[in-house]
């Protein structure tokens, strides 16, 4: 009888080794230069739109995984224009997108040509250093795009702002973000749960990155300089916010509902994307914000697009990337409230509250650096987890 058990164990071990060995192989492959050949017409020097189109059409199809539900609208127009069969899977949340790509790389079977995702931290700290993806800016459009928005390439921007209930308050109940750390707002600040929506880490990372501005805002409010045991005033603010019993909900539509629902007497404040102003009317929500809150009314939230190095249709992927940065391709995002193209020649919707000029928005929003955001992510997560203790 013992023999059987031994046999079985042997079989298990052998099979285990057989199936795991390619994983090790994939790990080694990451070390050497990828078999990634730059086509001459992709580069700034040799760029040739017609060759790109011809190569993309020769590939014939495109698979995109996109975080937004509106990708298929663009895909339909793209397919009609270039005759390339396009599957743009909508509403791929970042964790799914990231995990899938990791596994596909591990197994050396990449099935996606381009990803639309929010988490620049992962792109900069894992995907690009490991040669899993590249960021590509269409050379002919580069002149219209700010250099800082090219690496990784932003496909569209959304302002993420701190707003209030406009039926209860005639003007913003806060003028300074430090007020939110006071007992008055304890348990009354609503945010998307950063453990569910990782893009929220960028907001806190941005606060840390702009520590000086937070120090100045502190002095402006309390009339004295901040003394902190943390690295800077940004950290201090984040720590106090976490300690002030923030309410974390799974999605920013719920933030908007919590703030703007009618019939409340003591509504909370919270942070949500400007896009929520679009649903406000149908859902009877009362939403308002004051862009003059110091040090900033929120942060600029980018969605990036990156192309896997082993994408099966690298030309079609680039053509799609370029398409989304033109008026024809960006319409699902830029013709409605809350979306802005990094291409300065594309106008945003006139219905946007405050202003439809992205340049103007940038004066009132915190900009984060994806690399810095990736670097502080772990400490932020730990600080957040500690605040979750009952």
């Amino acid at each position: 009888m013992k023999k059987h058990v031994l046999c079985l164990m042997l079989v298990t071990v052998v099979l285990g080794l057989v199936s795991v060995s390619p994983l090790m192989a994939a790990g080694v492959q990451e070390e050497k230069k990828p078999a990634f050949v730059n086509e001459p017409y992709w580069t700034a020097e040799g760029y040739d739109y017609d060759k790109l189109v011809a190569a993309a059409q020769a590939e014939g199809s495109l698979v995109a995984r996109w975080q937004s539900g509106r990708a298929p609208q663009a895909a339909k127009v793209f397919e009609e224009k270039y005759g390339i069969k396009t599957v743009a899977s909508p509403r791929f949340d970042d964790s799914e997108n990231i995990e899938r790509l990791r596994r596909e790389y591990q197994a050396d079977n990449v099935q996606v040509d381009i990803l639309g995702m929010d988490d620049g931290g992962i792109i900069m700290s894992e995907f690009i250093p490991n040669n899993m993806v590249v960021s590509w800016t269409p050379p002919d459009l580069a002149q219209y795009i700010d250099e800082k928005e090219q690496y990784p390439q932003v496909v569209y921007w959304q302002p993420c702002i701190i707003g209030y209930n406009s039926s209860v308050y005639s003007h913003s109940p806060i003028k300074n973000l430090w007020e939110l750390t006071e007992p008055k707002w304890k348990g009354k600040f609503v945010t998307s749960d950063p453990q569910i929506q990782p893009y929220m880490w960028h907001f806190f990372a941005a606060a840390i990155d702009h520590g000086d501005e937070f120090a100045a805002a502190y002095e402006q409010l309390y009339g004295k300089a901040l003394k902190t045991s943390y690295k800077n005033a940004g950290w201090e603010w984040v720590a106090r916010m976490f300690a002030n019993d923030m309410i974390a909900v799974p999605h920013d539509t719920e933030v908007a509902k919590a703030i703007g629902s009618p019939g409340q007497t003591d509504p909370p404040i919270g942070i949500f994307t400007l896009t929520r102003f679009r649903d406000a009317k149908e859902q009877n929500l009362f939403l308002g914000f004051d862009e003059k809150v110091v040090p900033a009314v929120g942060f600029a939230m980018p969605t990036y697009m990156v192309i896997p190095v082993k994408a099966p249709h690298p030309n079609a992927a680039r053509l799609w990337a370029r398409f989304l940065l033109t008026e024809e391709g960006s319409f699902p995002w830029t013709t409605v409230v809350g979306g802005f193209s990094p291409n300065q020649t594309i106008m945003a919707s006139k219905d946007n509250p405050f202003t439809s000029s992205w340049g103007e928005w940038l004066d009132y929003l915190l900009i984060f650096d994806p690399e810095q955001s990736a670097a502080v992510r772990r400490d932020l997560i730990d600080m957040w987890l500690m605040s979750q203790k009952k």
Binding site: M1, H4, V5, L8, V11, T12, L15, G16, S19, V20, P22, L23, V63, G69, V87, S89, R91, S95, E96, E99, R100, R102, R103, E104, Q106, A107, D108, N109, Q111, I122, S125, E126, P129, N130, K188, V190, D193, Q195, I196, P198, I247, V249, P250, D252, E254, K257, A258, S261, E282, Q283, N284, P332, V336, I381, D382, L385, M386, Q388, K389, K390
Partner: protein, 614 residues
Amino acid sequence: MKFNESKPKDGGSMPELDSKFHGTLWYKVRNRLQPTVVLGFVLAVLLTYLIAVPVFMLLSESVTVHSIDAKYFNQQAGTLTLKYFERALTSVVSGVLFLAPLWNTLLIATTITIFTTIVGYILAWIFTRTDLRFKKVFSTLAVVPFMLPSWSYAAAWITLFKNRKMAGAPGILEVMGFTIPNYMAYGAIPIIICLTMHFFPLSFLLFGNAFQRIDSQMEESAQLLGANRFQTAVHILLPVMRPAIMSSILLTFARSVGTFGTPYTLGRPVKFNTLSTSLYFTHQSGEPGVMAVIALAMLLIGGLLVAMDVYVLREYKRYVTMSGKGQMSRPSALGKAQIPMNILVGLFLFFVIFVPLGILALSTFMITPGWFVKDNFTLQFWFAKETTIREAVPGLLRDPHLLTIAWTSVKVAGIGALICGTLGTLVGYAVVRLQQARLGKFLRHLSFLPYLVPGIGFGAAYLVLFATGRGPIPALYGTLLLMILAMSVMYLPLTTRASISSMAQMGTEPEEAAMILGAKWSTRMWRIVIPIQKKSLFSGILLAFIQGMKELSLVIMLAVPGLEVLTTLSIRYTDNALMQMSNGVILIIALITFLLTVISQHFMKTNLAQGIGG
């Protein structure tokens, strides 16, 4: 080894009556190559590749550096590390990340298991052993909770009980003027109630099946000898029901440990985390190493359960209730209790089915759920060409892809369930009949493993395992076949358990009789075993199908563009905060599952819940 002694002494499953070769080498070889033994080995190899390897891969992730951490740890991806264990067990955040969730998980799983087992047992007893009226309707309905994705109960609960602690619109009861304390709105109590309502059908089915195979002459004999009803129940029924009770405990407990949607919805607002929610958060915030540690813990809990199961069921023979003799099942008359009992069962089913389903259905007609104003009601989520809430999103029934997606769901779950049922019956047969007890045990435990592994981890392992061709096995990633395969393995525990417990109750007598008449193994399998097991096989397949229809975490890793299923559609609506559409998809899932269940039951002339032997 008492177990072995109770079996025929020579190799294989049955003594061959062919004495010509007795004692020769040929005889020995032939004995070794008994169909059952061959079957056992083939199954062992197959399951090792399909289950042990992925699980091993998943667990190895808890001790190897992931590419996301390589830079931070200053180590190359793939090197061995204990950092993930340190973080989960001894770091400053271990309490939040792992220890508190572990305690909460054990707490809710134990309570839910006790409740579901009691409810399921009582209900099964009423349905199989009494002459309750409307049995057929009731028992069909009693399975419905199982057809809903588990988070639907939580969604209904929140709509009803949400209090003002959380910002935003309160639930219906608060609007009506009640004050809902926090412990009723969120946390352990609502989670336990919701999951009990959701899981009891599983226990009910297991007990129903088992009761059907117990000859009611046993009870009658006891009563003839002067035992009262209570004594019969405790001393006669309870002991022979032990395999079913163990199955019920095992399956419910493991399910409760792994369940995610309900603790996520109801626990999160009061920071009540379980292992599954913690696993999800580590997944979302990019800590795959810690995620693997949590998965390992969940697997260990399951392992302990299995050990307990093994201990309790040391000897199958004692639970054989079906012999070669005829058997009968005579329901006892309820008499005066008939009407109250009908009302009681009816009310119970009303509360566990119609109330939550009604709340869900209602929500699909409201712009802001729970806000009862005329303008707030709408049909757009079902019928609009383009909803006003979100542009470019058509109403559910106007979505041109809905039919394709639903068909994919049915295909994947249906074919998966058939494979799962076949495989499960074979495993069940091998486990019970194999003389090589260790091989049997190996099969038994291995086939149960998928039940203990979080679906998302299993899906991830399958993606890697089948993304490239390995030897004779082709690359399957991106095909429908992989989803089907993953699903048939994921639900193998359901069909295997059902098959083991019914095989265990079936004595060797029917087969021995056939053998005396000269029937070959294949004939016996086809003409004796399968017909006797037909009903439990069918209910196993149906269970797997129902589970498959609502499976999410497994397919989310494997569904590729063009191969979406209903649950991924639902979750994509949830991600975009279109709860009405998401709930609508849940209702569609429930409707399709229910209709197909009823139709197939009619076709098979059996009833998942009650019809067996009825």
